[in-house]
Assembly symmetry: D2
Homo-oligomer: 338 residues x 4
């Protein structure tokens, strides 16, 4: 931590701040500058509560320096993590492409879409059995029936299954039936759920919260890892801003930012990130070009009859085109499609 | 829903859009303007998935009109709701002032702070037994022990107890020991938890998510009410913006906005809303002046030794001053302190 | 400036960073912590360009510490500034209440509104002669004719005249005809215009930009003052966020934040800050309660016929009620209405 | 415009709203729905001031429908605009790559950087002669001397010159010496400057404001075009959000959004968009992949000695690598580098 003093702080004021720091069991390092003095603080394990310091005479502000994450950190583990999911993986040379409907609606719907996305080259199948919906009156998913359908999709097409868990009960079920547990944006700081995911056997796909800073995003992953599950992949899915031409603002710069600070892989969700079908392909190309480890894409054979999020779902032929275009970009970032 | 056509949309394009609407079982109402035609859509129950419509030739955009909330709506229930909590209430003429430490740390700490805030006129005691912390390595609360301490505080000082639940287990415990169940900002869209809160016997204090729109905030309350618990009070606690001079940006305009659309009471949390002790009193005055039904304030007798959020906790003497100042503002908005 | 090293930074990496700092003519102060070393940098006048440092091996990040403003700073001038405007002032015990139409439309309109706001106790008259409009096809103001009408308003009612300047030409005219030069939110970082305002004879009302941080807001005032005009008052008018229930999000916490860092007075504009007539009175009460030095309010005798921003203009009777309500709050913050 | 009525609005309330609309000289179209009535409004030229309507009994809200822009609109001109700049162009098959230092510092610096970027394939040279700086104490540019240096760069290397104008005086000078007039983000709503740019002979590069919506961005271009200068290219340069891992959040989705609504070309500035050197190349790849018509990149041969924005400037060898990588992506989006 760093404490910045006013430019006319007196020697007594500076001394008093140093004393208070030492009383907290920490060490004070005054740095006299031309205009003002700053005081470095060391010796703290994690957060220092700064109330007592900010109120002392002569103090302008306090600045946090330490990063609270450890296990997610590239400082701790310099080499990239590869997350194994079923028979495939995220973070290796082959891009991890996940595709499927927003929600599992029926056996026929799931099989139809799965066949299409498999044919275009996807290696993961996505589809919600438990849907967190803004309205209590909207379709909430098929639950356990949906998971059983997903298991059949895996059997039929050898696709790794990714699906969302929303509470302890659904997490246990997803852990049993699926290959990867998705934690949605709205639950990124549902710490109880994160801890349970940290005790699960399956790898976790953690989506960024709608207004999560990079530090918060990494700390959410730290929660999972601190319980012993090191198989975590991150997912950027757009953040909330004033901009209204897309449903969210897809923040692609977070991809290289994550890679600088952490060893975990990160994929991008342009379907939720834009909320508009005609933006999904351009932003998918951009996500691969920026260096993402993969994509998660909503595909539906009849988007206008979808029970949720039809407006952002691609038709199978559009997904095929998407795969073709990112396949051309992949080699530029030293990747392959399969 | 309203569909806006391009200015040079042809009659066939308009006809095709109307037909598609009718095929969806809805009714189309074309409104020809000087420059362009808009098409009203009626007959929908809730959300219409707009994918099929946005892609039709000639369509510029679709605009949602219907509000999805019902039970929270002032249209349904014009008169203000009063939420009964223990021996007191939120939403009546007397302001609901909740005060106490961020976290319950010990019996002595809780009793010391409770005595002080009671003396200054608070009628509710707040204090976390289950703490959602950004870092897994930070103090996570005393759990059930904390709840037992809170029960003793109620007994000793006749204060209504408000405390946070973070998962099914803690929710059951809070429902048993406390007078009001707090759902925190990070769980505002934890829909499973909201439904459980809707089945609880105690009233619920629902905090606004960090980037929740007013519609999302009201829909979260609708989740609780749709399960049968109509005793819900809302709480503004700051939203996330680019501004960095406070921890969050306290959005006081949401108070009159809620009152226009909903019958539910709303209080304000200037402690989390600013994150800075020296901003709590000015923003508390402002919250009462804008028309809030109460406040929730962090108070600690030794903020610099607090196990969490000390930097934003008031000293008891500061809380006393706060009560005096809002007591002077109360009559201007036709309120009283007690 | 502070440079944060990785936790496993080697002594050579630390030495190399220190050497680079010294080569830049600055002084390095290493602070070895339990986990990592931070390096304080002193000796810089203003900004340091950090490119060379961030790229060195072992560096995690650089943190700016110095505040670049001087003349606006309370460190330089501890006592509050009172800005004299015509026969009245901003920043003294009496609240500075400015009221009038968004735009000057005609002599009759101006006189009618001026009479009403004067009667209710306003001491400043606002009204745009040069209007920055989002659309080139909207009414752009009466220009010099508007200024002449404003001069007549002053003569007739002894109200201090505040009106906006948008370019060098209008600034010269406003400096001649009005009592205070308003710089609008869209021009807060129009540095050429700020410098011209710094050379004007009249005091300046500087509105916060829609996404200006507190530092940027104060630096904009510094621009004006650095040219020799120390008569600057600030104005909060709402910032841009994801929230859509008001046109902007009024950030009242900036009022105490400005008062902590600067000696300049600050007023609040709840008309633009909310964009909705029914929110103006509640937010005006809140602005006075939070400690603002005054208000600027749009009032129109026929808002539904206004040539701009009618939706947020108060009727004269509403303004009268506003004055009555803030008059009751004023004593709580040690203020008076007149 | 559309007016939404409460669900229990009475027939008289609806009639009264319709009458008020008709009194304004507009036409009302009631659309009775299952739950509520909405009322379409037609006949308005541009904005309707909605004050009178929002206050009527039974009205919930008003929704703007008309888009105020005309000349920028793809509805008016379906085919893409190609902006001619010197001997080159923006919006044709060849990508428009602009590169050069943040500020022109000296003849030698400009020539050194220009030689490097020309060699790597840039066809435009950027460099500020007039710098809008946050602090009045920072380097403000060489002014007319800088423009003369730029003119020599054009002569020596046949690069089209793009440089910023900040006020009437500098705009006249830039119009004389350069090939393209840049309007910076801070001046995007400096409408007086936009009008002057609309009267200039040279094409204009208009950067998006830090918190400009897409509509506001297009309206700023409309200002320029409404004065007769149809040669306008847009530039996304990052918007302001809560995210703090980059200086701004680069909003790449605005590229396809602009292309849907407008015929104007749009380029991307990843240097300001991220503010961090190590993010520039990944985001440049993404910008080309998303479909941008070009890039504007800061390059400096000695970034650590740059007088401004060194931290985000590329070394010439990095720019060479950037060109190589985007050259590989270009064919995927049917583009070429030269």
């Amino acid at each position: 931590m760093l404490i910045v003093m006013r430019s006319h702080a007196t020697p007594e004021e500076i001394r008093k701040v140093c004393e208070t720091i030492e009383e907290m069991g920490l060490k004070a390092h005054p740095i006299p500058g031309a205009e003002r003095t700053a005081i470095g603080v060391t010796g703290n394990q994690g957060e220092v509560d700064v109330g007592a310091l900010e109120d002392l005479p002569g103090v302008v502000e306090t600045i946090a320096v330490s990063k609270p994450y450890k296990l997610v950190s590239r400082e701790l583990k310099p080499e990239d993590t590869i997350v194994r999911v079923g028979n495939t993986a995220i973070g290796c040379k082959a891009l991890a492409i996940m595709a499927g409907p927003c929600a599992i609606e029926s056996y026929d719907q799931a099989m139809t879409v799965a066949e299409a996305v498999k044919k275009s080259g996807a290696r993961f199948f996505r589809g919600g059995a438990y849907k967190p919906r803004t309205s209590p009156y909207s379709f909430q998913g098929l639950g356990i029936e949906g998971l059983k359908i997903l298991a059949k999709v895996r059997e039929a097409f050898d696709l790794a299954i990714v699906t969302e868990a929303v509470d302890p009960e659904s997490l246990a079920a997803v852990d049993e039936y699926a290959d990867m547990i998705q934690i949605g944006a709205r639950n990124m700081q549902n710490f109880s759920l994160l801890k349970l995911a940290g005790k699960a056997r399956k790898p976790v796909l953690l989506k960024r919260g709608m207004s999560a800073t990079l530090d918060e995003f990494l700390m959410a992953a730290e929660y999972i890892m601190s319980e012993g599950n090191y198989q975590v992949a991150l997912c950027e899915r757009g953040v909330r801003t004033f901009a209204d031409h897309t449903r969210n603002t897809l923040d692609l710069s977070v991809v290289p930012a994550v890679k600088r600070l952490s060893h975990l892989p990160i994929i991008v969700d342009p379907s939720h990130g834009t909320g508009k079908r005609d933006k999904v392909i351009p932003l998918s190309r951009a996500a691969i070009a920026v260096g993402a480890d993969g994509l998660i894409i909503e595909v539906h054979h009849q988007p206008d009859h979808a029970l949720s999020d039809g407006a952002q779902s691609l038709y199978p032929t559009q997904f095929e085109r998407l795969m073709s275009e990112i396949g051309q970009i992949a080699p530029v970032v030293d990747r392959t499609l399969t």
